[in-house]
Symmetry: C2
């Protein structure tokens, strides 16, 4: 299983955001939608061995942990708008400590970064990390931030986690996921 988690610092935790303004009043929901695409979508199909958590920290009721499971999800298209519509539907659900399913493979719970990291196994994708290609074995879970850096408070719960870089240029979060998926695909298939 490949697990990704992306922190959306401004991303809404309610279902009132507009699909026509994902980068603006929807708190850069466009980035998170592209991350879902990069984590779960391949040509003419879904990566059944992958899942992605979106940690939403914007108003009105943060934090929320929205999980999309490639093994189960249906009707997931690669475009931003339809993905945002699925997320919005999930955010209409009342949340508790446990995951509740909105549609197949799309679940939501109350919870933030600390609880997720406690599950263990995460590496942080970061431009100051060690080149992914130099790891003999890569971990199975990867944490990223959206367009903003991790806050000082968030960094405090990350020490000890391996830090991995995907390349010499600082990329958008979704591009970093895509590059990493390619590296994992290659290792799995025995490509160099």
């Amino acid at each position: 299983m490949r697990t990704f988690a992306v922190v959306g610092h401004l991303a809404p935790t309610g279902n009132g955001f507009p699909l026509d303004d994902l980068p603006g009043s929807a708190g850069r929901m466009d980035i998170l939608c592209r991350c879902v695409n990069a984590a779960l979508s391949i040509s003419h199909g879904i990566r059944r061995d992958a899942e992605i958590h979106l940690i939403l920290l914007g108003p009105p009721s943060p934090p929320k942990d929205l999980l999309l499971q490639g093994s189960v999800v249906r009707s997931l298209s690669p475009d931003e708008r339809s993905t945002a519509a699925l997320i919005r539907k999930a955010l209409a659900l009342p949340t508790g400590e446990s995951f509740r399913e909105s549609s197949p493979g799309i679940l939501v719970r109350r919870g933030g970064l600390a609880g997720l990291i406690a599950d263990g196994g995460y590496a942080v994708l970061s431009e100051d990390g060690r080149d992914m290609r130099t790891f003999p074995d890569l971990p199975g879970a990867f944490l990223l931030s959206d367009h903003l850096d991790f806050t000082a408070e968030e960094e405090e719960i990350l020490p000890g986690l391996p830090r991995i870089s995907v390349g010499p240029r600082v990329l958008h979060a979704d591009h970093a996921i895509t590059v990493l998926q390619n590296e994992l695909d290659r290792r799995e298939a025995g490509w160099s």
Copy 2:
């Protein structure tokens, strides 16, 4: 300079398409917008050393060649909707044999794949190609198709071009561009 070209087999050549239905009635314009993002966009900036041609083959007046130049373009955001709005604005221009500028770094002309390929230097990104990592030197221009394969007629003008694969899984066109950009970034920076 890194040049990308993507054939949009159903993509509109007029400005009448809706921004709210990019994957449907806008002929998979969502894919082309994500390709623009993958070719030109990095975190907090634009790749000034890259450009992308969109070869649009849908109604009402195909073919058109829409060029976005990273060196010049302004106001390019990474989300699909705003990119589609820029493309739509360019498609309102009357077209001739020469490029005409719609906004800085966004140009359009009448023309299709054959004319573009004649410029020379292109490799085809294809799942049956040779692994990109095994090329001692990579070319500077790359041709991709959207969600559809190249037609038999298109394939007839491609023989002799190198065919390059980015990995063992068949990826969306925009993901293939992202992976290739990373490989080019690494080579440029002296990373392995």
